[in-house]
Amino acid sequence: MYTDPILRVEGLRTHFYTFAGVVKAVDGVGLYLNSGETLGLVGESGSGKTVTAQSIMRIVPTPGKIVEGTIEFKGKDLLGLTEAEMRRIRGKEIAYVPQDPTTTLDPVYTVGDQLTEVIMKHQHVSKRYALNKATELLRSVEIADPQIRINQYPHELSGGTKQRIAIARALSCEPSLILADEPTTALDVTIQAQILDLLKALKEKFNIAMVLITHDMGIVADTCDRVTVFYAGQVCETGTAEQVFEKPKHPYTEALLSSVPSLALRKQKLSVIPGNVPNLIQPPSGCRFHPRCSYAKQVCVDKDPELESIEDGRSVHCHRWKELELKSAVAS
């Protein structure tokens, strides 16, 4: 059993060198994950959640580049590894469940082919053994009739089943870390509930640590032990789910929580975060949230705050967290 954080990311910067300029998609992100734990990454689109996950896997698409930072996985610095070494970790130690199962399964290969490819690559076993293993996997993700499914092509399957297969593929080499990038966004609510339950059960059964990327605060509250809130390529705050939902320390978290329509309470008017997500080629000076923050002061315009560690494993990225009394819109 590994006791230190299984994954530690510090000062990660991933930039995209486009014709329009350098997009600072991830700019100084720090986070950690203990083994067996689920960490939720929440934030709006373009806040850098996916790029962070891609950086951990070292699969940032061009023209993106990891500029600096450390990514430590089980004590190894992933950024220092060669591509060949990295390939042995990718898919085996760290697995990825992508957002849209329709586009990530190859349409010209059967389900069996796609599962056995991973197994044979990493475990050096025969095709027959791999096929047996693949059937087992399909059973463990609760797919009915695995023998039939294994010979089918992705277009013959529904969205929920495809996502189950993507999960089975991620599990195939018994990884110790799964990065799930919005695994349920493309699915209906009742299917979403099935998949979330499945992920929770599998995580417990195999004692896997999971990074769950989502923009749905409900999913975070439901599935995650700890939460990291992203805004414009930076971390706003980190804490356990209870801490963040009940006592948000960052104004963005507070605003985000109060703009979510609630099933339980019917509000007259939803509170709104004014403005839009900033352009990351020329991000705002100082704290990136200051143009939309209702507590902003001069210091927020001038200086970028540090990601400060405060009590019990929480960290906050705000100048004024000590003075502010933030309220949670969801705490009952």
Partner: protein
């Protein structure tokens, strides 16, 4: 009663491609014998999973798809007949009453037209206001949806998703409609922007007295914005009631399961989820009797044989089920 839908049915034929001729092998029963009413100034929510026929209903109401059978009445007039048979001037007059906001603001704006052109195109089609007032009216509309004058000469690609949806709303408002069908207007937007658009829709309703049909699969936004809600499953309305009544007292097993499947943004609230087995069946050969019975946790013998009628079980609460949950059944 402003809008009344009577026994609306829409079947899409399915063909098998032969060597020479196509052969009709069946029908997709997208919408089957659906009836409901929307009161003046009211927002009726239409919820259900993908493929349940929500969009088809809205399209048939506005005759963007001709219904297979059934009629839609608007202020007592049979709109379907008008669209089918009447002269162009009458059809245009009917079109001005009822407008549509599409789901995806990225696809529903012509990328080669400026915002001014987009919003003034309805004037060109309908000629309902004199040409010298077009510009003024266009600026008025921009202001109404919270955009600035200088946005008028820009192109859609220069706007964010939320702003694009505002342009779509302005275009729909250009003909002073009394009824707007909004098809998942916030599904593709980020949470913080979602709240802005929902508030805008509510404001416009209060200011202009518009009646909405609000289509969504997201029950929390439905609870926020709708006065009454209809729940659909596989082309049928299974339950319809006032919003608070429906959310406090869901009776149909599908509604209850749907509500219990939604993750709540509160880590302390651990709810008992009803996980529905399987997936939505094919609408080509819908199950006999109640279409929900193969997945229903409360099915009894009669469910697979006879189709339950939609009857009023409590004041204003209509239900199509033989074995509903008892009232006040709380799933917390």
């Amino acid at each position: 009663m402003e809008v009344e839908v009577k026994e609306l049915t829409k079947h899409f034929p399915v063909y098998e491609r032969g060597v020479i001729l196509r052969r009709r092998i069946g029908d997709v029963h997208a919408v089957d014998q659906v009836s409901f009413q929307i009161r003046r100034n009211e927002t009726l929510g239409l919820v259900g999973e993908s493929g349940s026929g929500k969009t088809t209903i809205a399209k048939c109401m506005l005759y963007l798809e001709p219904p297979s059978s059934g009629n839609v009445f608007f202020e007592g007039k049979n709109i379907t007949e008008i669209f089918k048979k009447a002269k162009r001037t009458q059809v245009l007059a009917a079109r001005r009453q009822m407008q549509y906001i599409f789901q995806n603001p990225y696809a529903s704006l012509d990328p080669r037209m400026t915002v001014a052109d987009i919003i003034m195109e309805p004037f060109e089609v309908h000629h309902h206001i004199p040409r010298d007032q077009w510009l003024n009216r266009m600026y008025e509309l921009l202001k109404m949806v919270g955009l600035e004058d200088y946005h008028a000469e820009r192109y859609p690609h220069e706007f964010s998703g939320g702003q694009r949806q505002r342009i779509c709303i302005a275009r729909a408002l250009a003909v002073d409609p009394k009824f707007i069908a909004a098809d998942e207007p916030v599904a593709s937007l980020d949470v913080s922007v979602r709240a802005q658009i929902l508030n805008l829709l509510q404001e416009l309703q209060q200011k202009l007295g518009i009646t909405y049909l609000y289509i969504s699969h997201d029950l929390s936004t439905v609870r926020h914005i709708c006065h009454r809600v209809a729940v659909m499953y596989l082309g049928k309305i299974v339950e319809i009631a006032e919003t608070d009544e429906l959310f406090d007292n869901p009776l149909h097993p599908y509604t209850v399961a749907l509500m219990s499947a939604i993750p709540v943004p509160d880590p302390k609230q651990k709810r008992h989820r009803i996980i529905l087995p399987g997936e939505v069946p094919s609408p080509i050969n819908p199950p006999s009797g109640c279409r929900f019975h193969p997945r229903c946790p409360r099915r009894i013998d009669i469910c697979s044989k006879e189709e339950p009628p939609l009857i009023e079980v409590r004041p204003g609460h209509w239900l199509a089920c033989y074995n509903p949950w008892p009232p006040k059944h709380v799933f917390a």
